[in-house]
């Protein structure tokens, strides 16, 4: 590590600040009928308040399995957590019961997924789905939750929230649906947001808007964001730090500028080389 990087690393956060979320030596296996897949192997990641950590990798790299581990959302079986810990607020999330995790999900740590069409209930008004999170976590009355949900829809830039509140997911465009998902995730004021390929299913102009929205809201609420993506350009545009994953392992991690300027790992270099660029080579 160069002197240069050390000073930069220290510059953007107090030296003694505890990371908000800390994944230490996490290993996850998928025990299938005929084979065992080591999906995540000895992965360590940290993210601080107000910071965006991008976890980038291709399919099968273990990036999603890592993200889902935080809230215990990998299907068990076949998933088995074989080692490591995930520290949040002094607790090891891997040791919490389903009930205890339920209190953290959506309130302290929230998730946004790739496909809002499958993450939203097709038979419920979108507003009610936002309100439900609040009622579940805060015990607000119906009317209070409705007001707060309307505010949340407004905050994520949904025009005419009162009218949109009473619409069903299929009546919204992909971009609006993803905004609803973000409202659902943020309405509980989480300290950590895990976004798993949040813009992969969207058109490029909509992707731009959603990425802008995520960054704006992150600054506003001083959230830590873990952004799971396959797209290095998205990383370049949004992240402070990046972890590159390949075949279940983190092959390289560090400040975005360092990793893009001086990739240390062969795989990172190859990924950078093969990603198509808009500017002429």
């Amino acid at each position: 590590m160069t002197m240069d990087r050390q000073t930069r690393d220290q510059s953007h956060r107090p030296v003694d600040a505890e990371p908000l979320l800390q994944i230490k030596h996490l290993s996850v296996d998928f025990r299938l009928a005929t084979s065992v897949v080591h999906a995540v192997q000895d992965v360590s990641l940290t993210v601080h308040a107000g910071e965006t950590l991008a976890v980038v990798g291709e399919s099968g790299s273990g990036k999603s399995a890592t993200a889902l581990s935080v809230l215990g959302l990998n299907p068990t079986p076949p998933c088995v957590y074989t080692g490591g810990e995930i520290l949040f607020d002094g607790h090891d999330l891997l040791k919490l019961s389903e009930k205890e995790l339920g209190r953290i999900r959506g309130r302290d740590i929230a998730m946004v997924f790739q496909d809002p069409m499958t993450s939203l209930d097709p038979l419920q008004h979108v507003g009610a789905q936002v309100a439900e999170v609040l009622r579940h976590h805060t015990g607000m009355s119906r009317a209070e939750a409705r007001e707060a949900a309307l505010d949340a829809l407004d905050e994520v830039g949904i025009p005419d929230p009162a009218q949109r509140y009473r619409q069903y997911p299929h009546e919204l465009s992909g971009g609006l649906r993803q905004r609803v998902m973000i409202a659902t995730a943020l309405v509980g004021r989480p300290r950590v947001l895990i976004a798993d390929e949040p813009t992969t299913a969207l058109d490029v102009t909509v992707q731009r808007q959603i990425l802008d929205l995520l960054v704006t809201l992150q600054h506003k609420h001083d959230m830590a964001v873990v952004l799971i993506t396959h797209d290095l350009a998205v990383v370049a545009e949004t992240a402070d730090r990046v972890a590159v994953m390949n075949k279940g392992e983190v092959v390289e991690s560090g400040d975005v500028l360092d990793v893009f300027d001086r990739p240390a790992d062969d795989y990172t270099r190859r990924l950078l080389a093969v990603t198509p660029r808009l500017e002429a080579a």
């Binding site: 299938l32 009928a33 005929t34 084979s35 897949v37």
Partner: protein, 304 residues
């Protein structure tokens, strides 16, 4: 971009065993213990049906009025000569149950084949072409469904007379709708799949697309409905025979045996219970085999 020799794709070992072949399906089926048991019952039944004259100890219609309503061998008054006892005319129960399997399986398989053939053709045409062909065929299906199958069966048998083949025809012509519906909805979802688009772009004819691309992909759901239908047809045949409207009196069927036995239930339970057990075991075994088949018939189930 510079031109190089074709970039080598990830290494694929050639010549490893492939899936989808019969032996692999069979092997997967054998891993399911319940299915093995069900399959064994079916094989036994099939053997009984095929070789009934060799296996059955007596002529199923041979009466012995001196030995009427003898209980099974393990009860007081029973004897090893008639292990399952005799009926009200002194006919050997074991022989009759064995011969009964013939009619039951023939009717079940025949009805399922006939209904499956009609329903598959209707469903393929309806789902692939859509439009007016679909509307006409589906209205026809609605009309067909509006007739209670059993009532229709009663009417036809009453009109044409009773007989094994009539029963098969009736059950075949009343059962095709469920095949057609399932095939149609499968085909409608397959129709928009890329491989159908590609086949059309190549210039493959509609008939070939239906035969080569659609039919094999609807076989799994077809097999499931067919097994359910075989089981239902076996029971319906029994109901018809029970009502005296199925096959002629001298043909032994489980249904007519049940009807006979009903009168003696209070005193000689075995006359009704044995054909009842045979009927239940058969339909259970067919259903379990069908479920297991559906689970293993899909080549994608072997991924990894």
């Amino acid at each position: 971009m510079t031109v190089t020799a074709p970039a080598a794709a990830d290494h694929v070992p050639a010549g490893t065993p492939t899936v989808g072949s019969g032996s692999v399906v069979l092997r997967a089926l054998l891993r399911n213990k319940l299915a093995v048991l069900a399959l064994a019952v079916l094989v036994l039944l099939l053997a009984a049906a095929l070789f009934a004259p060799l296996i059955a100890p007596y002529d199923p219609n041979a009466q012995d009025l001196l030995l009427r309503l003898r209980p099974p061998a393990w009860q007081d008054g029973g004897s090893g000569a008639h292990p399952l006892g005799t009926d009200q005319l002194g006919r050997d129960m074991l022989s009759r149950v064995i011969y009964g399997a013939r009619v039951s399986l023939l009717v079940g398989a025949g009805a399922a084949l006939l209904a499956g053939a009609i329903g598959t053709v209707v469903g393929l045409v309806s789902g692939y072409f859509g439009g007016w062909a679909d509307r006409v065929l589906m209205r026809l299906a609605d009309i067909q469904l509006a007739f209670p199958a059993l009532l229709l069966a009663l009417a036809i048998v009453g009109f044409l007379g009773s007989g094994l083949w009539y029963v098969i025809l009736v059950l075949g012509f009343t059962g095709w709708v469920s095949y057609a519906r399932v095939v149609r909805s499968e085909v409608m979802s397959l129709r928009s799949r890329d491989f159908i688009t590609e086949a059309r772009a190549i210039g493959v004819t509609d008939a070939t697309i239906m035969r080569r691309h659609l039919l094999p992909n609807v076989m799994a759901p077809l097999a499931t409905i067919a097994t359910l239908h075989v089981a239902a047809a076996v029971v319906t045949e029994a109901s018809l025979s029970y009502l005296g409207l199925g096959v002629p009196k001298e043909t032994v069927t489980w249904g007519s045996m049940l009807a006979d036995g009903q009168l003696y239930l209070g005193t000689s339970w075995w006359v009704a219970v044995f054909p009842g057990i045979a009927l239940m075991l058969t339909s259970l075994a067919i259903n379990i085999t069908g479920d297991a088949l559906r689970d293993v018939a899909d080549p994608k189930a072997y991924r990894r």
